[in-house]
């Protein structure tokens, strides 16, 4: 009870309303959030004509299942990572690698995802399994966020990835959590 009220006292950061001319829409969970013990999350979907939609999920890590590899919950029961399609990449214009890049695939769908975990006010960590963050989230009940920014391609679909929006949205949310901003200033 005390743990819940401590968590509730800290609201989830909200993704921006617009990202690089793409309009953001609030969407219900587009993913298998049950795999993450129904952790509290906020979602956005950014769409632009001709470009593949970009999804954003910011999840407050509450239990150990919040720290799963993204392919386990982003697509379907057969979500898996493409062979050798995993890398750690830096923010746009920087050199320190902070975001995990994965190309993942499910039943007839394929996605690219940027994934990281981040303490409130801290630097992002690309490794999905970090003991310190698990301890902070589950025992100390400190705000730790698991962020996914991903874009889905249907098999045979013609839309292309809007890479600039994808990377910049990730960087924006990362800085927002680092600078302890809950909402986007208008």
């Amino acid at each position: 009870m005390a743990a819940r009220s401590k968590m509730a006292a800290h609201p989830n950061p909200m993704p921006p309303d617009k990202a690089n001319q793409s309009e953001g829409q609030v969407v219900l969970t587009p993913l298998e959030n049950r795999e993450r013990d129904h952790a509290r999350s906020v979602y956005r979907l950014y769409t632009r004509p001709g470009a593949a939609p970009i999804y954003v999920s910011i999840t407050r890590a509450e239990t150990l299942n919040s720290f799963r590899a993204p392919y386990q919950y982003l697509l379907d029961s057969d979500g898996r990572m493409r062979e050798n399609q995993r890398n750690v990449i830096p923010r746009d214009g920087e050199e320190l690698p902070v975001h995990l890049y994965e190309r993942i695939v499910g039943h007839g769908t394929e996605a690219v995802v940027l994934h990281w975990t981040q303490n409130w006010g801290g630097e992002p960590i690309a490794d999905p399994l970090t003991l310190g963050q698990m301890f902070d989230a589950t025992i100390r009940k400190e705000p730790v966020y698991v962020v996914d920014v991903w874009s889905i391609f249907r098999a045979g679909g013609g839309s292309r990835l809007d890479e600039t929006t994808w990377i910049r949205t990730a960087d924006y949310i990362d800085r927002m959590i680092k600078n302890k901003k809950v909402t986007t200033p208008h």
């Binding site: 005390a2 743990a3 819940r4 298998e32 049950r34 795999e35 993450r36 013990d37 129904h38 509450e62 239990t63 150990l64 299942n65 720290f67 799963r68 590899a69 386990q72 379907d76 029961s77 057969d78 979500g79 898996r80 990572m81 493409r82 062979e83 695939v105 039943h107 999905p128 399994l129 589950t138 025992i139 009940k141």
Partner: protein
């Protein structure tokens, strides 16, 4: 609460023994305990305490056990099996001091000791309580299902150890250890295990499919197995996905947990029980590989039409549900080697 074993008969002169063996006497003691108001109050208070502390967490445990393709599906049967075990072994649980008495006295003296209720203060375990209480508080604060489930088992063990002593804990060793199986492990650990065992099963399946003359290929990601019409044209007939078709591991574990429980009730040596359990494991692994091979074979023969693929998917689902029952039916032939006829016999033999 310790006066619950005292009765008016204590003051009476020694009466001739009314019971020939402890298990004849056990129902009398159980009845006497359950009609004692002090015991009833303690029972209700304990149940309410445990319900308040752990019932809200049961939902989260069940959520993890029932995740799609969760290896821990067997978690659902653990508590019912423990309750069934306790019911079957209830006479033994009522007389936890029986082993100690048998070591000390002759058969007749044991009976006299029991019927006269010369009860000694149980050797209480305090250190488990000192460990369990802070751990339980930490787990309840955290809310992490793995910790709360461990806290439940730990607190229950500590409570029994403190209230009824080491003799009861010795009798309850199996059900308490068995309860640990329901601990919901974190997803990343189960994902790691699944990722390691799926390729092994697929390797066996593709070998069997190749023996049937089918062209197969496993994608580098580990799933699915693709079955082709022929090697040159690579016309895809059917795909066996680990998740969608189902590997049968959750069913395997339900079966193996059931066998473990069953063996715990039987009077036999550890080596013999272990061997039987391993035979059960081998039988089930064989069934898993055979099932996937049949699914692949049907997919190859019927997969060129939409209806055919649907029928193959239906077969995959039905065969998956049938796996534990089929395994149990085969296993029953192995278990007949123990020559037990009724549950009553097994429990009395303990």
């Amino acid at each position: 609460m310790d006066d619950i074993f005292e009765s008016k008969e204590d003051a009476a002169p020694p009466a001739p023994l009314a019971y020939n063996e402890p298990f004849e006497y056990a129902p009398v003691r159980l009845r006497r305990l359950l009609t004692n108001p002090g015991v009833r109050i303690e029972l209700i208070v304990t149940i309410v305490l445990f319900a308040v502390m752990f019932l809200p967490h049961l939902w989260w445990w069940a959520l993890r056990w029932t995740l799609p393709d969760s290896l821990q599906l067997y978690g659902l049967i653990v508590i019912p099996l423990v309750l069934a075990w306790m019911w079957l072994a209830r006479w033994r649980l009522v007389i936890p001091e029986l082993d100690w008495l048998n070591e000390q006295f002759t058969e007749k003296s044991v009976m006299r000791w029991l019927t006269e209720e010369r009860h000694e203060e149980p050797k209480r375990l305090r250190w488990t309580l000192f460990l369990a209480v802070p751990f339980t508080l930490l787990a309840l604060w955290s809310g992490e299902p793995m910790l709360t489930a461990l806290a439940f088992v730990g607190f229950l063990t500590a409570y029994l150890g403190y209230r009824f002593g080491t003799q009861l804990l010795r009798v309850m060793a199996f059900p308490l250890s068995f309860l640990c199986l329901m601990t919901p492990l974190p997803g990343f650990l189960l994902d790691f295990i699944s990722k390691r065992i799926t390729p092994m099963t697929f390797r066996i399946t593709t070998s069997l499919l190749a023996a049937l003359g089918l062209q197969t290929e496993v994608l580098p990601e580990g799933t699915p197995i693709q079955i082709f019409a022929n090697e040159e044209q690579k016309q895809l007939l059917y795909e066996i996905y680990a998740g969608r078709t189902g590997m049968g591991y959750p069913e395997l574990l339900v079966f193996m947990v059931g066998v473990l429980w069953y063996l715990s009730l039987i009077e036999a040596g550890f080596a013999r029980k272990l061997l039987t359990w391993l035979i059960g494991l081998a039988i089930f692994l064989m069934l898993i590989a055979v099932r996937l091979t049949i699914v692949g074979f049907l997919g190859a023969k019927l997969g060129d039409t939409l209806d055919g693929r649907e029928w193959t998917n239906v077969f995959a689902l039905i065969s998956r549900i049938a796996l534990p029952f089929l395994g149990w039916w085969i296993m029953s032939f192995v278990l007949r080697g123990f020559q037990c006829r009724t549950y009553h016999e097994w429990v009395r033999g303990r």
